[in-house]
């Protein structure tokens, strides 16, 4: 406890500190939704009259305030800033993940995919059904490649196709190049790339690489196109009840409007389909060992990670945002309640803590009507 209070004195601005809580109070977030990424709009939303079952906070509104790390910005601004962050880190993203988590993120991702067991089907009659997996915020493909490997190789089920989707074209382009380098042809054939905003999956288009020529890095590219998906260019969309498994790993905290994204996930999933989310979460600090671990973890994330970002990726601000967004993400129970609120059912606690709560797996199932 002594060490913990020393850390608290040294870092008075950490989450659970007065700063974080006063931020929350300052914006009058409703108490039943103690942590919404989208603070309730002061002006009535014109589109809210369309569907009375969708609450206001779950309807994307570009002018509504939300947070970007410890700053408060509008939803539209957050979208652009997040796009900027990931466009600038796309090239070094995988290397940085290894450095920041000592390679442990691979263990989390392996466990995440193993617990989903995609493509598993009992042998015998009737023949197994094909599965469609949608990997949102698929980025550089870590999850999608593991899903394909488990489905095609471990479970021997070639009837599984994966759609990798990301709002950020630079990240998705890195993923496409990695797929071409790493995956066997049969798995590449089962993988497709789609640009889309997870809050509105009715608008999407197949990936147009950014930058068009991979030899230029995103920083040097000076073309007229934006590094993130523009809904005006949409040519297709993801239909209702078309997806068996919706995964999002280390992406959902960057969304401008999480409730809207959860509802969109529910829309595209088939009844019985599973929503699975791997995300940084809150360290369980209810016992002394956990509290000590929490303090060490906070120290590492707020002091070391921005420094590593500066040294390795020459981009301190992006990694400062990364750790701040982790600190601002809701706790396990709050996020589970958001999943329930979006119309999913959960099993047990609804989540599974990894490494003492540094990360957590949340799952929900779309019930049958």
């Amino acid at each position: 406890m002594a060490a913990r209070s020393a850390f608290r004195r040294a870092l008075p601005w950490l989450p659970r500190s007065p700063v974080a809580s006063s931020l929350r109070q300052a914006h009058h977030v409703p108490s039943q939704r103690p942590f919404s990424t989208s603070l309730s709009a002061s002006t009535p939303n014109p589109s809210s009259s369309k569907d009375p079952s969708v609450p206001d906070y779950a309807i994307p509104d570009p002018s509504r305030p939300t947070h970007f790390g410890f700053q408060t910005v509008t939803e539209a601004e957050k979208r652009e800033r997040v796009a900027g962050v990931f466009a600038s880190v796309a090239e070094s993203y995988d290397r940085m993940n290894d450095l920041m988590s000592f390679g442990w993120h691979r263990v989390w991702k392996d466990h995440f995919v193993a617990s989903l067991n995609p493509g598993f089907s009992p042998l015998g009659d009737p023949p197994r059904a094909p599965q469609h997996i949608l990997d949102i915020a698929g980025g550089t493909g870590d999850i999608a490649f593991r899903l394909l490997h488990t489905a095609h190789v471990v479970n021997g089920n070639p009837d599984v196709r994966v759609t990798m989707s990301d709002i950020n074209r630079a990240m998705l382009t890195v993923g496409k190049h990695r797929a071409a380098r790493q995956l066997p042809a049969s798995q590449q054939a089962a993988l497709s790339f789609v640009e889309a905003n997870a809050e509105d999956l009715t608008k999407a288009r197949p990936l147009v690489p950014y930058p068009p020529d991979h030899s230029t890095s995103p920083d040097e590219y000076t073309g007229s196109e934006q590094p993130f998906f523009d809904p005006a260019t949409a040519t297709t969309g993801i239909p209702d009840a078309s997806v068996d498994l919706y995964t999002v790993a280390f992406g959902i905290r960057n969304f401008s409007n999480i409730p809207a994204a959860l509802r969109e996930a529910r829309r595209v999933l088939k009844p019985g389909g599973v929503f699975a989310c791997l995300e940084f979460s809150k360290v369980v600090s209810s016992h002394p060992a956990g509290a000590l671990f929490d303090a060490v973890y906070k120290e590492w994330s707020f002091r070391a990670i921005p420094l590593i970002g500066q040294l390795v990726a020459a981009d301190r601000d992006s990694y400062q945002y990364l750790v701040e967004s982790i600190a601002r993400f809701p706790s396990q129970d709050e996020f589970r309640d958001m999943i329930l609120d979006a119309g999913f059912v959960v099993a047990g606690d609804g989540y599974e803590n990894l490494t003492g709560g540094v990360a957590a797996i949340h799952k929900g199932m779309k019930p049958r009507e």
Partner: protein, 303 residues
């Protein structure tokens, strides 16, 4: 020696009490025959089967035990020490697990059973992925939970007794434990796999918790009302006996699990014998220690 006019003191200590009543409250109460008598009768009352002797402790039937109205009509009984939460399973989980449970005799406690159950329930083969960690353990817990709660429905039949007289607590414990073992019948061929999964380190706490709740439920339903340390020893010994009997059952091929029931009865009889022996030794040791202390006091030693 003693004159008939003077009542003979029951013990040296009682004599001291008469002689020096003022000092008595300051010293710890030692085992006198009077105090021993109350302890002994207490011990006798907690012995299984002894409850019928006292009209104050008639075997409680389910109807007579007042139950707190925590969840009206959700459950048919309520354990007096552990008010159960609304059941560990949500309706969606229950639908999936009950469908998968029907596939267990054929496919075991496996992902196959879960996937087939999901299909039977009108869901997708991927649906069991919703369980945190491994869905297989949820399926095992479903068996443990549903069979444990189903015991409450058999309790009236178990308490009915025989023509010889109403069943005692020990007898009802034996019958309830047997009812619970019989509920394994459908899946007993797969139960060794399940025991192996339950013995995995991450599942041990939940498995032991279920075992403890089972022992608690059996003793509660049997009408055991002890509130002394035997509350723990009874539950611990019943848990051990049940676990052993279940293990025996997985290799039992006798018709109707006759051998398992004989095994269960032998173990329960041994536990009762051991309990009686421990109580007798404790009683003897307590009395002897008290007597030694009193003899020493009578010699003028200030203890």
């Amino acid at each position: 020696m003693s004159s008939p006019a003077i009542p003979r003191p029951a013990s040296v200590a009682a004599m001291r009490r008469i002689l020096r009543p003022a000092r008595l409250p300051q010293r710890p109460v030692t085992a006198t025959p009077e105090s021993c008598r109350s302890v002994c009768s207490g011990a006798a009352a907690t012995r299984p089967g002894a409850l019928n002797a006292s009209s104050l402790r008639s075997p409680p039937s389910r109807a007579r035990i007042p139950r707190p109205h925590l969840q009206p009509a959700a459950r048919s009984y309520h354990s007096h020490d552990h008010p159960p939460p609304p059941g560990p399973f949500t309706p969606a989980e229950s639908a999936l697990l009950s469908a998968a449970y029907k596939r267990v005799p054929e496919h075991g406690f496996t992902q196959e059973a879960l996937a087939l159950g999901a299909r039977d329930a009108g869901l997708l083969e991927i649906s069991p992925a919703v369980f945190p960690g491994d869905g297989v353990f949820a399926l095992i817990r479903w068996h443990l939970y549903t069979q444990r709660t189903a015991l409450a429905d058999t309790v009236d039949e178990v308490a009915a007794g025989t023509p010889a007289g109403p069943a005692g607590v020990a007898e009802r414990v034996e019958r309830l434990t047997w009812e619970r073992l019989r509920a394994n019948e459908a899946i007993v061929g797969r139960w060794q796999e399940a025991l192996a999964i339950m013995a995995q380190p991450s599942h041990i706490p939940a498995s032991l918790g279920e075992l403890a709740q089972l022992a608690d439920d059996i003793l509660y339903l049997a009408g055991d009302v002890s509130v002394d340390p035997s509350w723990y020893t009874k539950r611990a010994s019943l848990s051990a006996i049940y676990a052993a009997a279940e293990l025996f059952q997985t290799t039992d091929t006798s018709p109707g699990f006759r051998e398992t029931r004989a095994f269960l009865q032998r173990r329960l009889a041994e536990a009762a014998q051991a309990g009686a022996a421990v109580r007798s030794v404790g009683q003897w040791a307590g009395f002897t220690a008290g007597a030694v202390v009193n003899v020493l006091r009578s010699k003028g030693l200030r203890i």
